[in-house]
Each structure stands twice: as C-alpha cells, then as structure tokens.
Amino acid sequence: MAEPKGFQYASPAHEADTAIAGMWLFLASEALFFGGLFFVWLQLRIRHTGGVTLGAEHANLLIGTLNTAILLTSSLSYTLGVQRAREGRGRATAWAALVTAGLGVAFLGLKLLEWGLDLRDGLFPGVHFALTGQNAGGAHLFYDLYWVATGLHGAHMLVGIGLVLLIARRAWQGEFSPAYTTPVEVTGLYWSFVDVIWIILYALIYVVGRA
C-alpha cells in the first residue's frame, strides 16, 4: 500500500510523528481529567482516613486484581500486534487486536459482575448505603469516587475496544504496511493509557486503603 502523506507534511515519517505527538497531547489532557479524581482521593485519604480504609476493605480485591492482570496482558498482546504491523504481517496484527479486544470485553464483564455484587451489598451511595458507624460518612464519599472513577474508566474501555476492533478490521483487510502503521501505533497509545489509569485506580481503590 502506498504511504499516505498530507500536503502539510514534509514526509510520511513527519506525518506519523505528528499523529503520535497529537495522541500524546490528547493523553496529557486525559491525565489531567483523571487527575481531578486522584486529587479527590488524596483529600479523602487525608481527611477521612478511616472512611477510605472502611471502603477499601469492602472493595472486591480479587476481581480488581484479576482485572488488572487482564489489562496488563491486553497491553502486551496489543504491543505484540504493533510489532507484527511493523513487520507487515496484517493477519497477525488483526489477531493480536482481536485478542486485545477480547481481554477488554473480559475486563468489562468482570467489572459488571463486581458492580452487581457492590449493588447487592449496598455499596451504592444513597439512602440505602450499607456501611455504618463512625467512618460511614468517609466510606460514603469513597464509594461516590469509586462509582464515578470506575464508570469513567469503563467508558474509556468501551471506546478503546471499538478502536481496537477497527484496527483489527483494517489490518485484516491489509491496510497497513511496514511503511504505514500510524493508526495501529496511535490506538496502542490510547489502549495502554487506559491501562495506566487502571493501575493507579487499582492502587487507590483496592490496595492503599488496606493499611
């Protein structure tokens, strides 16, 4: 396939570098978007330490850990797909992307299961919130953050799965070559970034509070 090059670029490599830099800029803005949530957690941890501990002890550590392992594996599978794309192996790239999307769906499936268990256990903020006692107020705030953060992350996962499936289709149709892998690389940046956000959320929601 011929290398596409817009009129405003000096070379195909220049075009690819610009697209990748553009994704990094977008990810920087996304980092600030999630940064607000991390800041809320920081204030909760300082001002409602007991509430964060109470909330974290009721979070489903096993599902959270399994989901983290799934996402780390998905980043590996997609990065292997990027390598295959650089080698011009379209079908192998497509399979790697499909495995990645499958792992993403498995993550969301487990997340739905966890949300269901949370609802059953009364861990949704509101008048029926199940945790009581001296630290219930802080735990309530902790679960406000939990639902917002995991919901926003889940929305990003949905977008990521859609993008990865699109890459799988295009790779299967032979749209990429060793000279043109920009969409594969840019999508990989987004996918791994969503993984990075989850690594931080996993630590903040499931681990640090258990101290």
């Binding site: 830099a21 990094w24 940064g35 780390l72 590996l76 390598q83 802080g138 705030l141 630590a203 258990r210």
Partner: protein
C-alpha cells in the same frame, strides 16, 4: 518479544506484590509499586523512551500539570481553616437564636 514478555512478567510480579500487600494490610507498598508499573508500561508498551522529542515534551507536560494540580490543591487544603467536608464527620449544630 523477549523484552516485552519480561516486562509483562515484571508487571505481573509487581501486581502480585500489591495483592499480597493488600491482604497483609500493608497497602502503602502500592505508593512504590504503582509508579514503577506506570513508568514501565509507559516506557516499554507505549514506547515513551523512544518517542519523538515533541511526544516526550507532551508527556512530561502532562506529568508537570498533574503535579501542579495535586500540589497547589493540597496546599489550599492544608491552609484552609474549615471545609464543607468536615460536616460529614462532625454533626452540624446550629447556633442558638439570639434575642
């Protein structure tokens, strides 16, 4: 491929450390392991180390502004005398009406 596999294995080991730490009520360990995991993933899977200068500038700028957000926000709360959030831990008591 070996490098990617080794990176994945390292990340899984760090995840295992966090899991065991959480079970052992030593969750503070994640303050050390999570940043290592993020940096490793960014450098290897996101190719941050070999990215163009412009991409690295954008990545560093993101980290910088997050630091500013968390830093200035923390300073604000550390010097504030009272915050609305305190109402959740201390019951609100209305002042007695004056004649």
């Amino acid at each position: 491929m070996i490098r990617l596999g080794a990176t994945w294995l390292g990340l899984m080991l760090l995840l295992a450390v966090e899991f065991v730490a959480a079970l052992a009520h030593a969750g503070w360990i994640a303050y050390a392991t999570a940043p290592i995991m993020v940096l490793t993933l960014a450098c290897v899977f996101m190719h941050a180390a070999s990215a163009s200068a412009l991409s690295r500038i954008f990545a560093i700028t993101g980290i910088f502004w997050i630091t500013v957000l968390l830093g200035i926000g923390a300073v604000d709360y550390s010097v504030r005398k009272a915050t609305p959030a305190e109402a959740l831990t201390a019951p609100y008591t209305a002042a007695a009406p004056t004649e």
